[in-house]
Amino acid sequence: MRIDMVVNGKEAGGEVEGRTVLSSFLRDQLALTGCHVGCDTSQCGACVVHVDGQAVKSCTMLAAEAAGSEITTIEGMANADGSLNVIQQAFQDHHGLQCGFCTPGMVMSAAALLKENPKPSEAEVRDYLEGNICRCTGYHNIVKAIMAASGQDVVPVAAE
């Protein structure tokens, strides 16, 4: 079937099978490979994108159901001049990534959190990241990056 949607502000579309999930459509047909598929079972959160402003796991949503929606992926997060946005920059500044595989999902979840709760507590950040798994960092610096991105003071040294 034919589906059309707006992805990162631009019209996008294509032919999909009923079983095509959104993550496959984004990666294989739109070449937006920043949407990572870690587990493909909706556990890990690497594939989180925004659908009409809501963070969803794109491996667990049919592409057909996203027809007519506005999608934002990690490729749509940078500033207009191509520089990192405030969340991405905070991840770099606070060493919020090591291998980087989970990072697109982490950034998309963080953006959704800060939109609904601009000044979250550390506990709220950790709670919101329940569905995003990182196997490198131990989460500490990810949480720190998100706290910093929300404009709150964090201890500048990565580990002490």
Binding site: G18, S42, M61, E130
Partner: protein, 260 residues
């Protein structure tokens, strides 16, 4: 996944008609069904998505004061607009991304023995409204993954009598984060209801002994000395039957202590 057609009806009537197709399966938020399809544990020939049916979405108060929740309403919306016990339950299902897609109708239709919503529906004595009839929660749940729903029947709404106070407490299975045991306690003027999920091989059930005791005195101490038999409890590597039976008492006490 095996391939299938997708239907996107815009009304309940169109959904019911699409469900008449051979080997049709309703698709709520897909947070259980899509992983199930990926494992090839189901092979419908057509999925009828309920996600574009606006008449099946939203939370409102009915004429009798009941909270009416559309069958295609996502957990995040119930977390925002439900009464204390129900909102608390919805806000702790899965994770934020799952709560943005998963629906109350999908959860109740699936009746996973470890799902949270069945405890709320049974614990409040909710009414499950479908495209063709109304089913009392006491008649609806018929065992693990089994419900009173007929082939092709769709949950369009769930009506919750609003309790004076209520609370859901769950002990999460550390890997899946599903309820190892979850207990919903609701106090109404006519008495207290206690519903238990995650524990029994027969799915969600009411704990009559605790209901009687709590209806006499709504306090943690009222549950002292009461226990559910370990017989018929789920036993797996995450917890033995005896452990689950013990947790039923603990979660009930916590729910009473935190009821609001």
């Amino acid at each position: 996944m095996y391939n299938f057609d997708v239907e996107m009806p815009g009304s309940v009537a169109d959904a019911v008609s699409a469900m008449g197709r051979e080997e049709a399966q309703a698709l709520g938020g897909g947070q259980t069904l899509i992983p199930t399809l990926k494992q090839r544990l189901a092979s419908p020939s057509v999925l009828v998505s309920l996600s574009k049916i606006s008449e099946m979405k939203g939370v409102c108060t009915g004429e009798d004061g009941a909270l009416c929740i559309g069958g295609a309403t996502v957990h995040a919306a119930v977390a925002k607009d439900g009464f204390a016990g129900l909102a608390g339950l919805a806000s702790r299902i899965g994770d934020p991304a799952v709560r943005a897609r998963g629906t109350i109708g999908g959860s109740l239709a699936n009746n996973d023995p470890s799902a949270c919503y069945p405890a709320a529906a049974l614990g409040c004595g909710a009414t499950i409204v479908t495209n063709s009839r109304e089913i009392a929660a006491d008649d609806y749940f018929q065992g693990m993954f089994d419900t009173a729903l007929e082939e092709g029947e769709i949950i369009t709404e769930v009506r919750f009598p609003v309790p004076e106070v209520s609370r859901y407490e769950k002990f999460v299975q550390p890997a899946s984060r599903f309820a190892l045991v979850g207990v919903f306690v609701a106090r109404f003027s006519e008495g207290v209801r206690v519903a238990v999920t995650g524990a029994s091989e027969d799915g969600v059930f009411r704990w009559a002994e605790a209901e009687a005791a709590l209806s006499q005195a709504f306090s943690e101490n009222a549950v002292d000395g009461l226990s559910v038999p370990a017989d018929g409890m789920i036993s797996d590597l995450h917890g033995s039957a005896a452990y689950r039976a013990h947790l039923v008492g603990v979660m009930t006490k916590r729910a009473v202590a935190n009821a609001a």
